[in-house]
Symmetry: D2
Subunit: 149 residues, 4 copies
């Protein structure tokens, strides 16, 4: 039941990533089982996602309190492939998998220093209005930026 249903050919899927952020596993992110606690990759995904949106020029506006729209996470998932330990230097890759009208499906890949994958993930973000909470379609300019890698 834990087949990774959002990846067809792992190597093709992996090769499509280029943007990444480096993170070093903190001591406080381990747990008493001696490895990275399973809740932390979602923190890494958020960090990589925000850096990705920042590069696209979106994040700067979204964090302005008076800006009309903000991004909201619709769903998130993570598949754990290998244990990760304290002080490891990971690369957290992120890419656009699919663009909807007002949403975007992002895929994630975490790799260790030897390049081997330790976890994968995905999740949809929706652009919503701060006032109404309703989804707000991407402009064509935003779509173009999201599509360019």
């Amino acid at each position: 039941m834990s087949r990774i249903n959002y990846i067809y050919h792992f190597n093709e899927w992996k090769n499509e990533f280029s943007f990444y952020q480096e993170v070093k596993v903190r001591f406080s992110e381990t747990d008493m089982f001696g490895h990275l606690n399973n809740t932390v990759p979602f923190v890494y995904f958020e960090q990589a996602r925000i850096a990705f949106f920042k590069e696209k020029g979106f994040m700067q506006e979204w964090v302005q309190k008076e800006h009309e729209t903000m991004p909201v996470v619709a769903d998130l998932q993570c598949d754990f492939m290998a244990q990760v330990y304290f002080d490891e230097l990971l690369k957290i890759y992120v890419k656009v998998n699919e663009i909807g009208n007002s949403s975007v499906d992002l895929h994630y890949l975490g790799t260790r220093e030897d390049g081997s994958p330790c976890f994968t993930g995905r999740g949809a973000m929706v652009q919503v209005s701060r006032k109404t909470g309703k989804s707000v379609p991407w402009t064509d300019e935003m779509k173009n930026k999201l599509m360019s890698s």
Copy 2:
């Protein structure tokens, strides 16, 4: 792309839950968008899951360093249905959806004080050997305990 693919009939699915843990949203769990940060429901899932395993009598052994086996999270997912705010009192429900040979698929539901759902989730756990890291089948006794609600 954010359809909840692990839920068929929401009300039936919801009615099968009985075990839950209460959590109160901490100030430090909010973010600058003013609501619960999206990484925190996974912390709540872990808390509810562990309380659930504790009630089944499993957790006490798993946290013993010298115990042969430990539980490992294979995957996790969360679908966000409504914004959650500081100081809300949530119920985090957990139930067994499916039992494998050495794994178990758990489903989660978070509800607010008025009973409305705010997020759902699922994830598989695998029992592994601390020494080899390989999966270790459930005993019949464990399976029976997991199946009894």
Copy 3:
């Protein structure tokens, strides 16, 4: 150098507490040394402090975005007296030690289920203007509420 310089007579100091919040140590709050990570008591302090301010009737206004003032932490400290482990049920006590013009010095005590202390702490909060960032004096009504236990 680790003498607790804000406590004179421990038993007298301890007996002055009455308000507390219960917290259960989460698995994700442990670290690979097998005990509660040292950064987490500050999360517990915040939770207890906010519940304390809520009981005084302050917090409800402070979390309103349009409210004129907000509380800011000036400093925090914690002295660790005993290791704390997964799943322990702690009481986190908080009391007013001293009231300044626009600030309040709060003291904290964490105890285990057997009543023994596991950590102590203190820290000053200042009421500041959201617009100017400058300190805003307590009203007499607020001072009275802070002084009543």
Copy 4:
């Protein structure tokens, strides 16, 4: 009551730091007041402290489960000098202030990109036996390493 009692001359004190770690403020580390949550500098202190001990050659042994000793935090404090916001790149400095028989008093300084201080801190660590929990004196070699900057 929030005077920084462990700093005499701020500029002299500041100039004694050389070792630092860079951290970027994560979105999940902000809170609904729009700034870095006050519990997070302690996470940064731990990260800087561990990198510091790693450079000294201590940490590698301490994280071995079978190693005789481990470091334990005796106390921690932080003084907040300026609000810190999402995505800021901070330098977290750490230095030895004083060496005891089996303990070390570490001082911390957080600075923003323009070099201005945003928080300071200190805290004592004790080397203890994993078996007995009792303090274990530093060897002369360890003392020498701690004293060399």
